[in-house]
């Protein structure tokens, strides 16, 4: 098939835009093998020094550990609470339904800096600043709307006659849910859980306020590494995180192809 001139121009333009979207992130990969600590491109020499620095330094290791454990706790909490809220929306009756939806979406709509500042005031009074529970609660609130939206989409496509069939054949409500509904929506739940994990794992603004000095997460540590002088360890961390993002993207693509998922 031959492309017309207009179509070729459009495709060429889209190709350029793709590079604009992707290249600035990929550039961190060569930078992480830089032999000197100058922010110079192209990098000079080859070294694994920044990776050694990342794996060898306690502050970076601790920040990574904090990020992973907080994000895992957020995933469990946000996925259970978000799924039950989604069930309530799709299968139950909620008074002032539109208001409920609006309030539940607020964490996604409110600007991060406003959420961070307002949470800081209340969390400080409750003694939650700089603690694990504080970070988990803050990030669970932020992750809930993403879980809700994803699971509602999955539930709306689900064929509820199958659950009714199970019920009419004598299964209890709980059994029908866990043995019929849950297996059907599982791919969608996994996608929602990945959303929750990433929301917490990548979040920086609220973390800057709530993590204090004793629950510092990886993005907060990276922030300090970029704020005043550029710490080259950030390049090594960035490369590792980039690898993780590619894995997440592949996993989502696979899951959405495999089962119930939305188009994007």
């Amino acid at each position: 098939m031959r492309l017309s001139r207009g179509e070729a121009a459009l495709a060429g333009f889209a190709g350029l835009v793709s590079l604009f979207l992707v290249l600035p992130s990929l550039i961190v990969v060569p930078m992480s093998f830089n032999a000197d600590n100058l922010l110079r491109f192209p990098p000079h020499g080859f070294s694994l020094g920044w990776y050694e620095a990342y794996f060898g330094r306690d502050d970076w290791r601790l920040a990574t550990w904090n990020s992973v454990t907080i994000a895992l706790a957020v995933t469990v909490l946000a996925t259970t609470m978000g799924t039950s809220a989604a069930l309530a929306l799709v299968r139950g009756r909620i008074p002032l339904r539109n208001l409920y939806i609006f309030l539940m979406l607020t964490p996604m709509i409110a600007p991060p800096i406003v959420s961070a500042v307002s949470m800081y005031g209340v969390f400080a009074r409750l003694g939650l600043v700089g603690t694990y529970p504080g970070m988990v609660l803050a990030h669970t609130v932020l992750a809930l709307p993403f879980v809700l939206v994803n699971v509602v989409a999955v539930l709306q496509r689900m064929d509820w006659r199958l659950e009714q069939a199970a019920r009419s054949l004598g299964a209890s409500a709980a059994r029908a849910f866990f043995e019929v509904t849950l297996p059907m929506i599982r791919p969608g739940l996994v996608v929602a859980a990945i959303f929750a994990f990433i929301t917490s794992f990548d979040e920086v603004v609220v973390a800057l306020y709530i993590s204090g000095s004793s629950a510092i997460t990886l993005p907060v540590q990276m922030w300090s590494g970029l704020r005043f002088e550029i710490n080259p360890v950030v390049a090594a961390v960035s490369t590792l995180l980039l690898g993780l993002s590619v894995l997440a993207l592949l996993a989502i693509g696979f899951l959405r192809r495999a089962g119930a998922g939305s188009t994007v």
Binding site: L10, A11, F13, A14, V17, S18, F20, L21, L23, P24, S25, L26, I27, V28, L38, L39, F41, A88, L89, V90, R91, G92, R93, I94, P95, N98, I101, L105, T106, I109, P111, P112, I113, V114, V117, S118, M119, Y120, G121, V122, F123, L137, V141, L144, F146, V152, Q156, Q164, I198, D202, V204, M222, L226, I230, V234, S238, L241, L242, L249, V264
Partner: protein, 299 residues
């Protein structure tokens, strides 16, 4: 995909009224824990923040904070600049994003997969990784400057970070997927037969585009533009890391007043303005454009 605002709860056999209603209410109660969590740890804090903004430093009720914002040129300048940057980023993203979404909808096979990956990848890449990438590209010794110097386009490095240019470039890229995805989704939903009808009735390709294709994609354009505008308005990370000291936008001003000046009341008033603008745009969009899918399609 969107949360339907219609009543979808009722099962097909809704004959027995009262037990049915009870069951629906009981299921509805499943939504309480999530709401409680959001209410205690975000809605209540937000309410406190808004209230605090209406207090003077001494504690009594007053509009002093807002008066200060309205009468100090530098604060008005920050508000103006924030709106200006957000608006400009939205316009540029619309100009880039629309043709890209069209190209995405026409692409097939590997090419489509590549374009799709390019637009989805940023969602899954840590914001600080992307910001760091931009620092490497735009820095005086960075990629762009070494290319320009090598080609002899410039004789000495041009300043691209620590100023408005850096903020604009970075934000344009970071916000682009939020513009592309709603437009692309709208194109997918379009009834292609309308285009064929227009063509077969004798309309030129140009006329078909302007009078049929473009109007049909407008809901996606509005959705994308609104999300981009609202997110740009409250953006903190990019301006703080790519901008200079003269590129303070409202989010940084809030942060500065809280962490450096410790003027909580003033920071609260600024936060209230930002929150009101964001919520206002969102509610207006919901009401007039019926964009329930606004936030769900964005990610």
């Amino acid at each position: 995909m969107a949360i339907e605002l219609s009543e979808t709860a009722r099962g097909p056999d809704a004959a027995g009224r009262d037990p049915d209603r009870l069951r629906l209410m009981r299921r509805g109660a499943l939504g309480i824990p999530a709401l409680l969590l959001v209410a205690v740890f975000l809605l209540y804090p937000l309410a406190l923040l808004v209230e605090l903004g209406f207090h003077a430093k001494t504690g009594e009720w007053s509009l002093a904070q807002y008066e200060r914002i309205a009468t100090t040129p530098i604060y008005l300048l920050v508000l103006w600049k924030t709106a200006w940057v957000a608006g400009l980023v939205t316009c540029i993203d619309l100009l880039i994003g629309y043709p890209f979404a069209v190209a995405l909808s026409r692409a097939r096979g590997w090419w489509r997969l590549f374009l799709l990956a390019a637009v989805l990848m940023p969602f899954w890449t840590n914001l600080l990784v992307r910001t760091y990438g931009w620092i490497v590209v735009l820095h005086p010794n960075g990629l762009l400057n070494s290319i320009l110097l090598g080609l002899g386009v410039v004789s000495e490095p041009i300043e691209l970070v620590q100023n408005t240019i850096g903020v604009l470039i970075g934000m344009t890229q970071i916000m682009l997927p939020f513009m592309v995805l709603p437009i692309a989704a709208q194109i997918e939903r379009m009834d292609r037969r309308l285009l064929q009808a227009a063509r077969s009735l004798g309309a030129s390709p140009r006329r078909t585009f302007l009078h049929v294709y473009l109007p049909l994609t407008l809901p996606g354009v509005f959705a994308g533009a609104l999300v981009t505008l609202v997110l740009s308005f409250g953006f903190f990370v990019i301006p703080a890391l790519l901008g200079g000291r003269r590129d303070v936008l409202i989010a940084q001003l809030i942060d500065f007043n809280l962490t450096k000046v410790l003027n909580w009341e003033f920071a609260a008033a600024l936060g209230t303005i930002l929150l009101a603008v964001t919520m206002g745009i969102f509610l207006a969009a919901q009401r007039w454009l019926g964009l329930n899918s606004l936030w769900t399609e964005a990610r």
